[in-house]
């Protein structure tokens, strides 16, 4: 038995879709944010797997940059969530409709 690239493709797709589903069905803003992190991680896994099987390090560079941008994104996003909680007193996405036209 040997592990092929197909194993990583399927695992990555599963993780990505679990993240997307979590973003759709959950209303807690923090858990939606965690779902986004899950999707980013699944993409990273695919990059690393392809970098290994194609014997190149280009994929590893992309993972490095994705992680740096994800760190910046999380710091900004959590600051916005804290500000929203102070402003509205909730993190329920259905109640945050101040931008609704």
């Amino acid at each position: 038995m040997e592990i092929t690239i197909n194993y990583y493709v399927i695992l990555s797709c599963l993780l990505f879709c679990i993240g997307a589903l979590g973003f759709i069905i959950r209303r807690n803003l923090l858990i939606c944010f965690m779902s986004i992190e899950l999707m980013l991680n699944s993409v990273n896994l695919l990059f690393v797997a392809y970098a290994h099987y194609l014997k190149t390090t280009l994929g590893l560079m992309y993972v490095f940059f994705i992680m740096a941008v994800a760190a910046a994104e999380v710091s900004i996003g959590l600051a916005i969530i804290v500000m929203l909680f102070r402003f509205k007193g909730t993190v329920d996405m259905d109640k945050l409709n101040i931008l609704k036209g």
Binding site: I3, T4, I10, L14, I18, L21, L54, V69, S75, L78
Partner: protein, 170 residues
Amino acid sequence: MITNYITIIVGIIAVIAAISTVLQKNPVYSAVSLIIVMIALAINYLLLNAEFIAAIQLIVYAGAIMVLFVFVIMLLNLGEVKRIKIEATPGRIAGAILVGLFLLQLIITGLNVSSQVPGIDRFVMETKGLDSTKVIGYALFSDYLLPFELVSIVLIVGIIGAVVLGKKRE
């Protein structure tokens, strides 16, 4: 081959922990499940000969980002939701169906792409002479110098933005 079994077990753990992340009632349990996913992925990176990425995954994701999440959950003092209200609104049903179709499409496309690359389905474990940390270091400071500097600007903007947004205003 014991590494093959480890790979599969770690993959199963990652999927179960991901489902747990999405379905937990308490946000703290969600965060812990997400940490398990990230550790499982770090083990996968190690098995894929990407030691540097595995270390960065543990330090940045499991260490810094998730600590930030847990800290914010603590700060907001969120209680447990009574029940996960998944009302079957039409939009949500349509979204779930779309995600299912998307999963199917992703898997089909991914397998199709990977079958078109010659020799990719052979698992080759030996990567002697390819020290990934060293190669990444050389590439970062030669070919990717400009993106590297741009990423540092992004991080500075992130820090300043967090400070400005978190400041108490009257």
